[in-house]
């Protein structure tokens, strides 16, 4: 065993890695077939041969295989989520209390900062920012969980063959639970303090959440794989997320920065390219303003997210064979 720790390096499976053996046949296609049916049945009847990258399985094959793995291992995903919830103490009363209190306290901080220090006044400002803080907390905690999702399971990765892609998927899917808990104080806030903001469009919140989920998934999958090779990616991401949040219309509305975006084209570009502009405005529409979300923009981001998801799965599948060697 000590030898494993000393000799943990990356695979030969990176592009350009070339087995020195001249006689080694490269039959990557066999391998993709073999891997595809492992998920459900554990049957291992196809021989595994050395893979040389350019001749490896095709991109579409690998994406389909990744999706099949996610689907066939949904039970594992469920267990992983349950394990994570148990660890976060969500099965205790206090654990749930914190899930409710946490976004409320964060909201209180921003309310104090903006209304008292900056002297800005927006009608029902607590509700205004809460409808952005809640989805952002969901996004950022999902990403943070996903970054370490693969590396945290390093020991089981070195012992059992299973599709590693379920790890970031479980991290992101598990985040839905905390988001759902956050809806409790949101509803309380509306009913207790802003009953005139209650509107049937509130029921459209899950529609926006679906698009956000579709966008979060590829980001999480890519970062989960990158962290295997660069363990300090979390530090970079943490600051990136903070900047991202302030550049998104969370504490302010898009109309409030209109004078800035008119003058600086680059800012307008940033807002247009940021999916959270659409997400936050849409959440605010259905929760705060009582109007439908930005359907066309949401549709466009769903489309983009699905393309990103395909690329992310491909990226993950290409790196996956090296995980056990690097970890």
């Amino acid at each position: 065993m000590p030898s494993l720790i000393d000799l943990s390096f990356a695979a030969n499976g990176t592009p350009g890695g070339n087995p020195e053996r001249p006689g080694a046949p490269s039959q990557g296609r066999d391998q993709s077939r073999e891997d595809a049916n492992v998920g459900a049945t554990m049957e291992r009847t196809q021989p595994r041969e050395a893979t040389v990258w350019p001749g490896g399985p095709g991109a579409i094959d690998q994406i389909v295989e990744g999706l099949r793995e996610i689907w066939s291992r949904r039970l594992l995903t469920r267990y992983l989520i349950q394990a994570e919830l148990t660890k976060k103490g969500a099965d205790t009363l206090l654990g749930n209390v914190w899930w409710v209190l946490d976004p409320l306290l964060q909201m209180a901080v921003y309310v104090i900062l903006v209304t008292i220090i900056f002297q800005r006044s927006i009608e029902a400002y607590p509700l205004f920012i809460f409808s952005a803080i809640l989805p952002w907390k969901w996004f950022s905690s999902s990403i943070n969980d996903a970054i370490t999702s693969v590396t945290a399971r390093d020991r089981i990765i070195k012992q059992v063959k299973f599709p590693k892609i379920v790890l970031p998927v479980a991290a992101v899917t598990g985040g839905i639970v905390s988001f759902a808990f956050g809806l409790v104080p949101l509803l309380g806030l509306i009913l207790l303090f802003y009953p005139h903001h209650l509107s049937p469009t509130l029921l459209l919140t899950p529609a926006v959440a679906v698009v956000q989920f579709a966008f979060t998934l590829p980001v999480a999958i890519v970062l989960g794989a990158v962290n295997v090779f660069y363990r300090d990616i979390g530090n970079v991401v943490r600051h990136g997320l903070r900047l991202w949040f302030y550049l998104s219309p969370a504490l302010y509305g898009v109309d409030q920065v209109a004078h800035l975006t008119d003058r600086h084209r680059i800012l307008a570009w940033i807002f247009a390219a940021n999916p959270f502009t659409t997400f936050f405005e849409s959440y605010r529409n259905v929760i705060y303003s009582g109007v439908p979300p930005l359907w066309p923009e949401l549709g466009a981001w769903l489309f983009v997210s699905l393309i990103l998801l395909g690329m992310a799965i491909l990226f993950f599948k290409r790196l996956e064979p090296s995980f056990a060697k690097v970890l």
Binding site: S3, A24, R231
Partner: protein, 287 residues
């Protein structure tokens, strides 16, 4: 060569594991502590030395059903890497590996458990990782718990377990599913006398059902007791393959010789240093 070319379709399988000229290469650039920071540092100041390393090279062997093979050898010989390739965890860099049937591979038993979950939850989680059917796992749960014999600890978090208890739970899971091929890495070192007897009985049972077992161990008593074949691995290559008693004896002999060589080298080095010190000291003493 003639046989190879004209071999008929491999319908009747007379082996459980077929390893043909297997090679596994590691890339030394990506080590455990790779960081963005470190990569920039390496770009500025490239390190010298080899970038690749063959952990296994030209390894060829077959295991028939009913065989229990011990893989022995010094640290760093590639034993654990070999098990990982057989389990499908690491892809071969060269050659071919063919493992037939279900593989159970909780390699180092108990190391992959989740510390914060109970024993019961860990059984289900391990089953899900291994890809076993959920319903089958639930029906086997009482059996696994009974075999592990942990008493009330089965509902306590794993972090409260002793090393031996973890190994018991791991062994119980790995063998409960009746795999065609069982891979075990350093498992028999732990556990008390009673559990050793039980696990021995379980392994004999698996062997009788024509399953194949490959296990890595340093304990030569277990090699003789559990295995009907042994492979000696050194520096990623098979040195010897045969009866456990012979191979174990060969291994002891070779490691004794290696130890003697190392001691001789150390003695020579010490003698050289002493001589240097003496020659430096001599003129000053005289002057």
């Amino acid at each position: 060569m003639f046989f190879r070319r004209h071999r008929p379709a491999p319908q009747p399988v007379d082996y459980a594991i077929d390893v043909d000229r297997l090679g596994v290469q590691y890339n030394l650039r990506f080590t455990r502590r790779t960081t963005v920071h470190g990569t920039f540092k390496n770009l500025l100041r490239p390190r010298n030395g080899p970038t690749h390393f063959w952990a296994l090279r030209d390894v060829t062997f077959r295991v028939r059903p009913g065989e229990s093979v011990a893989v022995i050898g010094p640290n760093g010989a590639g034993k654990s890497t070999l098990l990982q390739v057989l389990a499908g965890i690491i892809q071969p860099s060269a050659g071919r590996v063919d493992v037939r049937g279900n593989v159970s591979s909780l390699l180092t038993l108990g190391a992959g458990f989740d510390q914060d979950l109970t024993g019961r939850d860990n059984i289900l989680l391990a089953g899900a990782f291994l890809g076993f059917d959920h319903r089958e796992m639930l029906t086997r749960l009482p059996e696994i718990i009974a075999f592990a014999d942990l008493g009330d600890f089965i509902d306590a978090p794993l972090k409260t377990y002793s090393q031996g208890m973890r190994a018991r739970l791991g062994f119980s899971i790995a063998t409960a599913v009746e795999p065609d091929v069982l891979l075990l890495d350093e498992v028999l070192a732990t556990g008390d006398a009673v559990f050793r007897e039980k696990s021995k009985a379980r392994i004999v049972e698996l062997l009788r059902a024509a399953r194949a077992i490959v296990l890595v161990t340093h304990d030569m008593h277990w090699v003789a007791e559990f295995c009907n074949r042994a492979i000696l691995l050194e520096r990623g290559q098979i040195v010897a393959d045969g009866r456990p008693a012979d191979i174990a004896a060969l291994y002891e002999e070779r490691s004794a010789r290696a130890r003697a060589e190392r001691e001789a080298q150390e003695a020579a080095a010490i003698a050289r240093i002493r001589a240097e010190v003496a020659s430096e000291a001599a003129p000053t003493a005289r002057g």
